[in-house]
Symmetry: C2
């Protein structure tokens, strides 16, 4: 006689609503509960025990509970929770759930745009741009050619071929950033190049998608000239939309700051993202392109700081729905015959990023080892590839067979590079050919754990203390894994701080290129501590004075010393 | 040639996806954008300029953009965004949006359950319980009788009559709490009684709804005996479900603490709420009853602290969707003929809470003025009334006419009491007949504004310092308006702290019943400041030692004094 028993024993006839529980809103609520559970259990399993990114666990969770696996088995009193589709080519999840997944992808891309930090371009900007271009063009061409050569599309200009090419373009840098952060290599020249290139790569990937969609909905299989013309128009529309949003960004940012009621800024920003997504789709682009542009436009404004902490819980609660639904769309039997092609395409995906990003790096001052590091680091594909595949599946451009191939490519390109990354980053020293102008960061940094509340008091004051020593904040970014990176520079010298919060504690890692950095940082730390303590003392003094009492100085020793 | 122009000029024929933009996912995305905007602009307008709760602004926003007002006007290239329903009795918003609203109400009730603080029962618990019961029974009976007398239902035992009764039961204490907090009366005996009674009132309201739904789906128009039997069963199911969840609460709380991946605890808790909602619905109760029970079960566990800050942004982004959608369901023309009845029912709603809550208060030690304060403070209705009305509309139990009446009752009972509250609370002194055992809090408390980061360092250490003076934390609650209230007691003496965060600052108000409280609080403040400063010093010392440097004490004076 448990809560579960009430569901599994349908003959309790005096429970009148039981018959209706298998349909409508209650059914959707149950489906959503299962999807959320699959997302978080899968994510946790992969992250904790398989040391893989959570997103793969969410995909796997979706495959497991989806219509082509457990979802098709009938539950007592409810029936199959996710029955396989009656007709091929239809989406095998309820429209409502599918819309939620789509809206989650809008939030995902808006947040990606919002997190883009163009200040990172200041260092390694040119190198990173060329690395990014190489890593988009080569996989795109190779992907389209693979489809044509395998007989899956009549020509490389066919929409099916172009979509397969587009699938291979966008790097998902989250896994690389996480691994480099774990082994303390995020601030190496290779690490910064990868992070910066990934930003440009995102924009390029979005553009490639815009072009492909324009070609697809236009003439169909066309020529290079036609592709260029249609692509040019899509590019034009994107530039106008993004330009407008960037111009409006300042106004929107001020408007968001104007709201006083709780959560209004976030909800309004989401409305802007949704509206921009709609405009992009209306203009022949895609929802996510508009959402990304809206995020990009706000990333350079003050609204970013306001929105970033608020959007995180919404993101974490909703975005996994997208990945579980993508996993649910994988039809194992349909994909089976294309397994060989899928593995081959995965290899093409890995090699084209390796060469497409590695060669420019080699030409621009990196040693072969450094170029290899960059090529491997740029290889993982992820969310954008899945979104493109989902889009193509919904519009009927590809079938469940090729969708399965896309998921396979995502899995392989995500699982393989991390295995290589740690050894190639931990041996062989600097990846640059000449000793860089900026000396490499010291090998052994300083790692410590502080209570979170004290850290938040500490950090701004430590940055201030270092700035009063002549350093300026050259780089501030949040990695996709949630680590905050601060880089301070002074005449070619670099001090980097990386902090990651866990529950109530914050782990801080400090590294620097100066020979005497320990003394400098120690002095700055003590100055920051004094500033924080005196602010606390001042606050206490004001409170105590307001109470009509006389205040004693902070430390009893000081009182005695006076 | 703006982003807007792309939508409003549909003859740009080379934009191929434009024709499709008015349907499917893009249309839903646009609708969602409009709903979010209506929610936040309406909420801000009402809160800032009309000094009314945001929820009324969200309702009004929904009425404005809904199918019975602006939503029916065609937009160029899109058509009417929310066309009026073709047939009466159908929900005039897309199924997907309606599901989102339903899920938002699940989140709303889960959060309400989670915020319930049973520790508040320790003071004024008995009084509050009796006040709550009076304030549920009288409105319920009067509401059902009004429906029967007005000829809207054949008897008071008819489902329509019972639903109208259920509508009037649940107090929405948010507005009262906000106003009392603004004028510093939240910690008066009346204020605490209202807050505590509202908690019990929520549970009773949920129970009444369970009983009514059981009667409705069972025999239909029945007798008192039948009602009691069916109601007893629903009550039994609710007790079993809630009891099970409470037993499982500890296990679930530990399980939620086990997750390490980002946002996993929140998403899993939402999955639990959704699952519990499904079980409740399957057992003949309602979705929100299950969600509330799940929140209630976790409110007594450590998971509450983990979830509370994470759920807030999700709540603020999604829950307004529910209120906008409720506003959109208001059919002005259908409600018109029942306007008189609606106003009368609003009066019944106000008077029955006044008498139902006021009389028990009068009998239990309050002066007439104190009883009036409690009666007026308990009068507002809100989210639960709207959820009940929405539920009744969807199941066809009431039509759009009576739904409009329900919204009218919500509006009137929310707008009217605040006008009275301030004057009756600010004059006439204590509302208790005898000087209370617990002396009233000092009239002039201490209010100060602190930087948010310092406050978060301060608060736990201040509570600790007071606890080491023999005080214990007797009451800790977060009011619906987001204010944190801490009440410390020592042998009948009370110190209360109320903090409300705004952007980066926290406003703290300290009040106490002790004659010499200023000296005591000042000492505790200074001890807290010293604890914070020495933790900062210790953290710095560890950091500096790890850097291989020697540390100097925090204050230079102290160094000289040694």
């Amino acid at each position: 006689m448990g809560a579960l028993a009430l569901v599994t024993v349908p003959d309790i006839t005096w429970l009148p609503a039981l018959a209706a529980a298998g349909e409508g809103v209650p059914r959707l609520v149950l489906q959503l509960a299962i999807i959320l559970l699959a997302a978080k259990l899968g994510g946790e399993l992969f992250e904790r025990w398989l040391k893989q990114p959570a997103v793969l666990g969410e995909l796997a969770g979706g495959m497991l509970v989806g219509p082509y696996a457990l979802g098709s088995f009938p539950l007592p009193g409810v029936g199959p929770l996710f029955p396989p589709p009656a007709a091929t080519g239809t989406i095998p999840v309820p429209e409502t759930i599918y819309f939620l997944a789509q809206f989650a992808s809008v939030i995902l891309l808006f947040a990606s745009g919002l997190e883009t930090d163009f200040r990172g371009f200041m260092r390694f900007g040119l190198t990173a741009s060329i690395v990014a271009v190489g890593g988009v063009v080569l996989p795109f061409v190779a992907g389209a050619m693979s489809a044509a050569l395998a007989g899956l599309a009549p020509s490389v200009f066919d929409a099916r071929a172009l979509i397969l090419g587009a699938l291979l373009t966008a790097t998902s840098v989250g896994i690389t950033a996480r691994i480099l952060s774990d082994i303390g290599k995020l601030d190496t020249p290779e690490g910064v190049t990868i992070l910066t290139a990934a930003v440009i790569d995102d924009v390029l990937g979005i553009l490639v998608l815009a072009v492909v969609l324009a070609v697809e909905s236009g003439a169909g299989g066309g020529s290079l000239a036609e592709l260029a013309l249609t692509g040019g128009r899509a590019l034009g529309v994107w530039i106008v939309l993004t330009g407008l949003l960037i111009v409006l960004g300042g106004v929107v940012s001020r408007a968001l700051g104007w709201f006083r009621s709780a959560g209004a800024a976030l909800a309004t920003a989401l409305a802007l993202a949704a509206f921009s997504a709609f405009v992009a789709q209306s203009a022949g682009l895609a929802l996510i392109i508009g959402a990304y542009s809206a995020g990009l436009a706000l990333s350079r404004t003050r609204a970013r700081e306001l929105l970033a902490p608020q959007i995180r819980p919404v993101y974490e609660a909703l975005v996994p729905i997208f990945f579980v639904v993508m996993g649910m769309l994988v039809d194992f039997r349909a994909t089976g015959p294309l397994l060989g092609f899928g593995l081959l395409l995965s290899l093409v995906a890995l090699l084209t990023k390796l060469v497409g990003c590695g060669l420019p790096a080699l030409a621009l001052g990196f040693r072969p080892l450094g170029a290899l590091r960059i090529g491997v680091g740029m290889a993982p594909r992820g969310e954008v590839a899945l979104i493109v595949a989902g889009l193509a599946l919904t519009t009927g451009l590809i079938g469940t067979d090729l969708f399965g191939v896309a998921v396979l490519v995502t899995l392989v390109t995500t699982v393989a590079p991390p295995v290589l990354l740690v050894p190639i980053f931990q041996r062989g020293g600097s990846g640059l050919r000449r000793v860089p102008v900026t000396p490499p960061l010291v090998e052994s940094g300083l790692g410590l754990t502080l209570p979170g509340d004290l850290f938040r008091v500490f950090l701004p004051r430590l940055l201030q203390a270092l700035e009063s020593e002549g350093f300026r904040l050259a780089l501030q970014l949040t990695t996709p894994s949630g680590e905050d990176v601060y880089e301070l520079q002074r005449e070619g010298e670099v001090i980097s701080l990386r902090s990651s919060a866990q529950d109530h504690e914050v782990r801080v890692v400090i590294e620097a290129t100066l020979p005497d950095w320990q003394a400098l940082v120690a002095a700055a730390l003590q100055r920051a501590a004094r500033a924080a303590a005196s602010e606390i003392e001042e606050g206490t003094r004001r409170l105590v004075a307001a109470l009509g009492q006389s205040s004693t100085p902070l430390s009893p020793e000081a009182a005695q010393g006076r």
